[in-house]
């Protein structure tokens, strides 16, 4: 397989397979959660479940001071790499071009040096998060193989993307192909691992908020 054939396979059949698994997987997982539902609460409502649900979706985005004091490091590092991923994935011109091609929607890109710097910060933040997970006895105790695996799948596209952008070591088409392949691995694993939190976090926030709202409690 030549470098061009590899790139074409990655951009063609492999991308279709990854997209199909990703879309089917995510929809199945979300529908399973929604259809399973919750036990009906027979107590008299003391507040609005809907209002509570929406409120919590928004309020949980910002940590309360108690949580911040307890695990400020995790919060900051988490915010940095999540923001970094958002910028590198969604505000880099070639990525927007892919989204535009697939979904027909596009938006302006950030200057590439900004995205480049963000990628470096993201990689550093992800490494720091891993070191913290290994060093902290409680986190280490709670960590399973999957936690390390999804960390690897997350950092891999950032690193391969950075290397492809700067064209280090291998012919550029091969570097781009490796980068796209690493994203495809992430897409395939996404629905079936903890990575699915990107879609399910709002559902769980909603349930927490709705339960509290029904009871007339702020959450």
């Amino acid at each position: 397989m030549t470098e061009t054939e590899f790139l074409l396979w990655v951009r063609g059949p492999a991308f279709q397979i990854a997209t199909a698994i990703f879309v089917v997987g995510i929809i199945v997982r979300i529908l399973e959660i929604l259809i399973l539902g919750r036990k009906p609460n027979l107590a008299e409502a003391r507040g609005s479940a809907v209002a509570g649900g929406f409120r919590t979706i928004i309020t949980r985005t910002w940590p309360d001071s108690g949580t911040f004091k307890r695990s400020g490091f995790t919060l900051i590092a988490g915010y940095v790499f999540h923001t970094g991923l958002f910028v590198t994935i969604l505000l880099f011109a070639p990525h927007i071009l892919v989204i535009d091609e697939v979904l027909g929607i596009g938006w302006p890109a950030l200057p590439t040096p900004v995205v480049d710097a963000t990628a470096v910060i993201t990689i550093i933040a992800l490494v720091v998060v891993l070191l913290h997970r290994i060093k902290d006895p409680v986190l280490r105790f709670l960590s399973r193989f999957q936690d390390y695996f999804v960390w690897f799948l997350t950092i891999l596209p950032v690193i391969t993307g950075y290397v492809a952008f700067h064209r280090i070591g291998l012919p550029p088409p091969t570097l781009i192909a490796i980068h796209i392949l690493s994203v495809e691995l992430l897409m395939i694993a996404f629905p079936f691992t903890k990575l699915a939190h990107a879609f399910t976090l709002f559902i769980s926030r909603w349930y927490n908020g709705a339960i509290a709202g029904y009871r007339g409690v702020n959450s």
Binding site: T4, F15, L34, I35, L97, G104, P171, P172
Partner: protein
């Protein structure tokens, strides 16, 4: 011209001044990214260089490479260097044909066995020897015979370097490149469709002065193919700022913004177009408003479309998303129903434990 004259003697005979010659040496040194201190060395080596015998074989090609090399309009010193190589066989340029031409090739090979430079343009068909023949000799046979006595081989153009357009899918003739067939000779690939004339002059000058130039993993001289078009593109600042032409006639295109979104292959293409440019340094494709096709890269013809950026999928992903979503909804509803049924079953089977049961047990 006799073969035993040195290049210096020939250039002086043709009325080239010492000053003009040195200017060429300075230009060559800078082209090859050599330090200025190397200029006298280039001059001295060129002065003493004997006219190398060059045998030029044209296989499955369009003559564009030969056109490129011979059509550099003004009479330049590069032309003279070309005139001063002993081009002993080039069936497109020479007047003789048939047996006479083949005799010339064979006698040139015999006289300069082990010393001549073999230049190849065009790919070599391996499917059937009859696909491309010269005087009844198949391309493979002629290449192998001529390569055996060559000091070095220069594959000119993308066809000879990587198979080029004849090699494009589905490759009906089984076209291959020179490097696919020969591995025991120094091979310099000078790809491009066509390659830049000054690059071939530079490669020949390097060969005359310092031997085989430093090559990359695709056998291309690093001096010309060491940097990507993207890195040397004058439109690069627009890429970095995120300013792109969205179509060929929008405001961005008129302002000369980056052509990445129109399919420019500059980021993955290694060539000297953005620096040496074409037509005596007049312009190059991106400067004239067209994205780079990536013609000096292997398989550029099959790289997913000239007007599609390298990053985007080649198949209809929107359709996959739609079908995937439909499948996902169907599968999700089915699995959700199964889960509910299991939940209801578990609830029915649930036996309540009373205080009496516990007391009995204890």
């Amino acid at each position: 011209m006799k073969n035993d004259q040195t290049l210096g003697e020939i250039l002086r005979q043709q009325g080239i001044s010492r000053r003009g010659f040195l200017k060429f040496c300075v230009a060559t040194a800078s082209l090859l990214a050599l330090p200025p201190g190397m200029v006298p060395a280039i001059a001295a080596a060129l002065e003493k260089a004997r006219r190398p015998s060059v045998i030029w074989l044209s296989f499955q090609e369009c003559t564009g490479c030969t056109e490129s090399l011979t059509r550099s309009d003004a009479a330049s010193i590069e032309d003279l260097i070309f005139n001063t190589i002993s081009l002993d066989y080039h069936h497109t340029l020479q007047a003789a044909s048939g047996t006479g031409a083949e005799d010339a090739r064979e006698s040139a090979m015999k006289e300069n066995w082990g010393k001549y430079v073999l230049v190849v343009d065009g790919s070599i068909p391996t499917g059937n020897p009859g696909y491309s023949t010269i005087a009844g000799i198949s391309n493979v046979e002629m290449l192998m015979e001529a390569a055996a006595g060559a000091a070095a081989i220069v594959a000119v153009g993308s066809c000879a370097s990587f198979g080029g357009i004849p090699h494009a899918s589905p490759n009906p003739t089984g076209a291959v490149s020179v490097t696919d067939l020969i591995s025991d000779k120094p091979i310099v690939n000078v790809p491009g469709c066509p390659p830049i004339p000054v690059v071939i002059a530079g490669v020949l000058t390097h060969f005359l002065t310092f031997g085989i130039p430093e090559l990359d993993e695709l056998h291309r001289p690093l001096a010309f193919y060491g940097k990507s078009i993207h890195d040397r593109c004058y439109r690069r600042p627009f890429y970095d700022k995120g300013l792109f032409a969205e179509s060929f006639d929008d405001e961005g295109a008129k302002k000369g913004w980056c052509l990445y979104k129109l399919g420019c292959k500059g980021p993955t293409t290694y060539n000297a177009c953005a620096t040496t440019k074409w037509n005596q340094g007049t312009s190059f494709p991106i400067q004239s408003g067209h994205p780079c096709l990536g013609c000096s890269q292997p398989d550029f013809w099959d790289a997913g479309g000239f007007y599609h950026a390298l990053s985007i999928p080649t198949e209809d992903t929107a359709r996959t998303v739609l079908y995937g979503a439909a499948t996902g909804v169907a599968a999700g509803l089915a699995l959700g129903g199964l889960n509910r049924a299991r939940k209801a079953h578990a609830a029915r089977k649930h036996e309540k434990v009373t205080i009496n049961d516990l007391e009995k047990g204890g």
